[in-house]
């Protein structure tokens, strides 16, 4: 990227809320059903039907508002955004225009080691549109209205993001908060989170913003990153060649890695917003707003800082752990037993357990692992009853079955051997069998000790106490 320029990004994030039913009717709000099976006369916009607001949507949006430090407009309304498109059965989208439910907030994000405060302009509620499908062997366009009326919140940021890295961190923070609050599945690949990306560039040091372009419906973290990089570079190119940036809407073509002009400012649609006469003003009580505020859980950034401060975790690790609600909750439960060193617990969760979860594409709550079993297992290692290696064997079992680690150790004979006579035999055998390592040691290569201890551990099938073995190996070598 050209270092003479600063890249300015603002994001409009649309997140589908995981309410039980849709925003204005009693249809189920579910993803992936057979086409046109999750819709009714109301969400299909049939003549004479009327919307009735699902209060859960308001609650969810207010939760997000609190999480993003917004002020909540207790008296608000819904407006119609009028435009024609086949995926929009009423020919208007019920949204919020001049009085969003939440506004004037901020979100602190971590980009590398730097903490940045990103302004949140507004959060409003609205309904999703349907989907158009182009099927093989069919010339025309098909419409699936299952998604019509799925509740959305639109989260609009201030132009406070400086480039693709910031945008990625911001999006990750937003999706992690959505998951923390339990208000959205936040799956970009299923389209439950989508972003409109506003990009402009300006010479470093210039105060005034450059002209921005908007890219609609960018559908993955990676795509957002690539779209910003491409668009910033394109704009810089234009400026460097003496051109002017036009305010326009562009479409991000992720497959080809280019943004394409959709419509210029002159063709901007006039949405003819006006208050929806079917819904009128609604009022949320001060008490209810406060109740919702009180129910907001500890959010990822706060968790990260607590992990660093109280448990001595490295910041990157703390952030990674905190970003996953389920694992962080599991971690907190483990630590609250007070049985283990919190750092050891974090290592297990982020190491072997994470590896297992990723390989199997499941989450920690989908396994048989219990807080008690994991903390007991780690305690066995800490007490020296079993080795780290044996711990891994125990973990493999307790991930799949709810069994007591102590019992597993006994049944499988995983306990560490601390009997000197047994260990001495192993040490003698290994020294005899590894003449080269012994030679190395004599030449002053101390890492030969580690190698020999490893051999001894292998010979003991992981059961030897590595501390005792090391002492014995050193003693034996020095005697030679």
């Amino acid at each position: 990227m050209n270092e003479k320029y600063e890249v300015i990004v603002g994001l409009e994030v649309h997140a589908e809320l995981c309410t039980k039913t849709k925003i204005f009717c009693s249809c189920k709000n579910s993803f992936g059903a057979e086409v046109n099976t999750q819709c009714c006369p109301v969400c299909m916009g049939m003549p004479g039907t009327l919307p009735v607001l699902n209060k859960q949507v308001v609650d969810y949006a207010i939760l997000m508002g609190h999480a993003l430090n917004c002020s909540i407009n207790r008296v608000t309304k819904q407006d119609r955004k009028n435009y024609f498109y086949p995926d929009l059965p009423k020919s208007y989208q019920i949204s919020q225009f001049d009085i969003p439910l939440c506004e004037h907030g901020y979100l602190d994000i971590l980009v590398g080691d730097e903490e940045k405060r990103i302004g949140i302009t507004r959060i409003h509620i609205e309904e999703d549109a349907g989907k158009l499908i182009h099927a093989d062997g069919f010339e025309g366009t098909l419409a699936d209205y299952n998604r019509c009326g799925v509740p959305l919140i639109e989260i609009v940021s201030e132009p406070d993001l400086r480039g693709a890295e910031d945008a990625k961190a911001y999006l990750e923070a937003i999706t992690s908060i959505l998951l923390y609050l339990g208000i959205s599945d936040a799956k970009m690949q299923e389209g439950s989170v989508r972003a409109d990306v506003n990009v402009s560039v300006r010479p470093v040091g210039q105060k005034q913003f450059g002209t921005r372009t908007e890219m609609k419906n960018v559908n993955s973290f990676g795509a957002v990153f690539r779209a910003i990089q491409y668009e910033a570079a394109r704009q810089i190119d234009v400026l460097e060649q003496g051109g002017v940036i036009e305010q326009e809407t562009r479409r991000w073509d992720d497959a080809n890695g280019v943004s394409v002009l959709m419509r210029s400012k002159e063709d901007a649609q006039d949405y003819r917003y006006f208050p929806d006469p079917d819904l009128l003003t609604f009022v949320v009580s001060e008490q209810h707003v406060q109740q919702l505020k009180d129910s907001v859980p500890e959010l990822p950034v706060a968790k990260t800082l607590r992990y660093v401060k109280n448990f001595g975790l490295v910041r990157v690790d703390a952030e990674l752990l905190a970003s996953n609600k389920a694992r962080a909750a599991f971690y907190d439960s483990c630590v609250s037993t007070g049985k283990n060193d919190p750092k050891l617990v974090a290592n297990w969760i982020m190491g072997d357990i994470a590896k297992y979860l990723n390989e199997n594409r499941i989450e920690i709550n989908d396994t048989a692992l219990t807080v008690e079993n994991l903390t007991d297992m780690i305690a066995l290692i800490e007490k020296g009853t079993i080795s780290n290696t044996a711990g891994k064997t125990v973990l493999e079992i307790i991930l799949k079955e709810d069994r007591k680690p102590g019992d597993i150790v006994v049944q499988q004979g995983l306990g560490q051997i601390s009997d000197d006579s047994v260990l001495q035999n192993i040490v003698d055998e290994m020294i005899a069998a590894n003449a080269k390592a012994v030679e190395d040691f004599k030449k002053g290569k101390t890492n030969a000790v580690g190698f020999l201890v490893g051999q001894c551990m292998r010979a003991s099938k992981g059961k030897g106490n590595p501390g005792i073995l090391r002492d014995m190996v050193v003693a034996a070598l020095e005697k030679l």
């Binding site: 009693s26 006369p41 299909m44 916009g45 049939m46 003549p47 004479g48 039907t49 009327l50 919307p51 009735v52 607001l53 119609r80 009028n82 024609f84 086949p86 059965p89 009423k90 020919s91 208007y92 419409a143 006039d270 003819r272 917003y273 006006f274 006469p277 079917d278 819904l279 009128l280």
Partner: protein, 482 residues
């Protein structure tokens, strides 16, 4: 006994005394429809099979000795913008010529639950836009009192069907006078309820903030009966419906204060209409009511505010007729824009297109503040003026229409003259108030003249009670012999 001339209340009594069966009543209604439809043309669809099946069910209930709901076995005509499950609902538009709703409007559910016998769907101005019933894509309806004249609109079919004794009761909808105007032209009783009193679910929207479904009948009691059946909050379907604190039905008008808003008796109101209304006012004075003059100064601006608000909402409400999902579809061979343009140019009639364009214009960015926003402010003013006036009087009496029914074709090419027909009625919708139209005599050519009673929100009990007093005092309302 001529069954068709019976009121709904009388029919209900005959059913209970076993003088008549529901099937006999239904058949009498269907025969009457067959006999006069060639002249009146009030119906777009007659649902003979459904009506006879509903009547048979009521007869079975009677045979089983079950308690009957008030409307059980009573024939009711339904304006064709109220959705009926499995029965074509056209809004008198080419756009919905073949639209069969898979659901019932809330009012239809309520009527069916009572065992009412729905005999068919009545003609109207297309999408309820008009005051003469001539804007129907299918046919004009004729006024039973003079078949060269219009029945009024937009619920012209519903009013004419009741006036011609095809049914004792019918439902219409009223956005700016669409129940009261045809009630007045056809010499029947028509009520536009308080906004929110009747669920709008299933009423094909014209102007959502003004639309209300309302009942027609030949007597005040019949209109009361039907109103009681359809009113009530509809929490699950209509967020604008309310459980109103309805006033009790009054039995006498003695001591009540009746306001005459001076702006409603001035220029533009024909002499015979003014005289007939004032004669009725004297009748009230004789019954012991106090008559006072009140003023609603914003009245002259109401028509402009109305056409801005109603058209704006209509332009949005009617966007859904785009050829994609149901109804008429134009050219599918070209681009998406071609399809939209041909669908909407060919599917909608001139008046509907005129209002969509007007509404689109007033909502456009740059014009919104000058038109829509100002109209909404004016709406608040008008409502406030009514509120103030109602501190001085219990209800008001005004004309319904400036004139009696005009000739078919007379105003067709003059939209503004047509709009003027609504000048006395639109304020009531703008302010969300109840308005009742009752006959108050016959003018030149034996044409009915209507009187409008306007009350505060939820005062239907006062209006219907006071209307009943008048009806009794004048010995009932005239019924046209056909």
């Amino acid at each position: 006994m001529d069954i068709c001339k019976l009121s709904a209340t009388e029919m209900a009594a005959c059913l209970r005394s076993h003088e008549l069966s529901a099937t006999e009543i239904a058949k009498a209604s269907l025969e009457r429809i067959q006999k006069v439809e060639g002249t009146v043309d009030a119906f777009l669809t007659v649902t003979e099979d459904e009506a006879l099946a509903a009547a048979a069910k009521v007869d079975a209930q009677i045979a089983a000795g079950e308690q009957l709901a008030p409307l059980a076995g009573i024939p009711v005509g339904i304006k064709d913008n109220i959705c009926t499950k499995g029965v074509r609902t056209t809004c008198a538009s080419r756009m919905l010529e073949n639209f069969v709703p898979p659901y019932d409007a809330t009012v239809i559910e309520k009527l069916k639950a009572q065992g009412a016998v729905l005999t068919g769907k009545t003609n109207m101005d297309e999408f309820a836009m008009g005051s003469s019933c001539e804007n129907s894509y299918f046919k004009p309806t004729r006024n039973p009192w003079d078949i060269t004249r219009v029945p009024g609109g937009s619920s012209g079919g519903s009013a004419a069907a009741v006036a011609a004794c095809e049914v004792p009761l019918s439902l219409g909808s009223d956005t700016g006078g669409s129940v009261r105007c045809p009630a007045s032209f056809c010499g029947v009783v028509g009520l536009k309820p308080t906004y929110g009193a009747v669920s709008r679910y299933g009423l094909v929207a014209f102007a959502s903030s003004l639309d209300q479904i309302g009942p027609f009948g030949r007597t005040v009691d019949d209109v009361s009966l039907l109103f009681d059946a359809i009113s009530g909050e509809d929490k699950t379907h209509d967020a604008t419906s309310k459980a109103g604190n309805f006033a009790a039905r009054i039995r006498e008008v003695k001591g009540l204060r009746i306001g005459l808003p001076k702006e409603y008796f001035g220029e533009g109101i024909s002499e015979e209409v003014r005289a007939a209304v004032l004669k009725a006012v004297e009748e009230y004075r004789a019954m012991g009511a106090e008559i006072i003059e009140v003023s609603l100064p914003s009245t002259p601006y109401a028509l402009s505010a109305y056409y801005i608000i109603a058209s704006a909402e209509a332009s949005s409400n009617l966007g859904r007729y785009d050829g994609v999902k149901y109804g008429f579809c134009g050219d599918r061979g070209g681009s998406l824009t071609d399809m939209y343009e041909t669908t909407r140019s060919e599917g909608f009639g001139d008046e509907v297109q005129r209002r969509i364009m007007l509404g689109t214009y007033v909502l456009s960015s740059g014009y919104y503040d000058a038109y829509y926003k100002r109209a909404k402010l004016l709406q608040q003013n008008i409502a406030k003026e009514f509120e103030e006036a109602f501190t001085k009087c219990d209800f008001m009496i005004t004309p319904v229409n400036p004139t009696t029914a005009f000739k078919l074709g007379e105003n067709v090419n003059d939209p503004v003259a047509m709009y003027m027909a609504d000048v006395c009625t639109i304020n009531v919708n703008i302010a969300g108030l109840p308005g009742l139209s009752i006959p108050c005599g016959l003018g030149k050519g034996n044409l009915p003249i209507g009187l409008q009673m306007i009350g505060p929100k939820w005062s239907e009990g006062v209006l219907l009670g006071a209307a009943k007093c008048y009806e009794t005092a004048v010995g009932g309302f005239a019924v046209k012999e056909m």
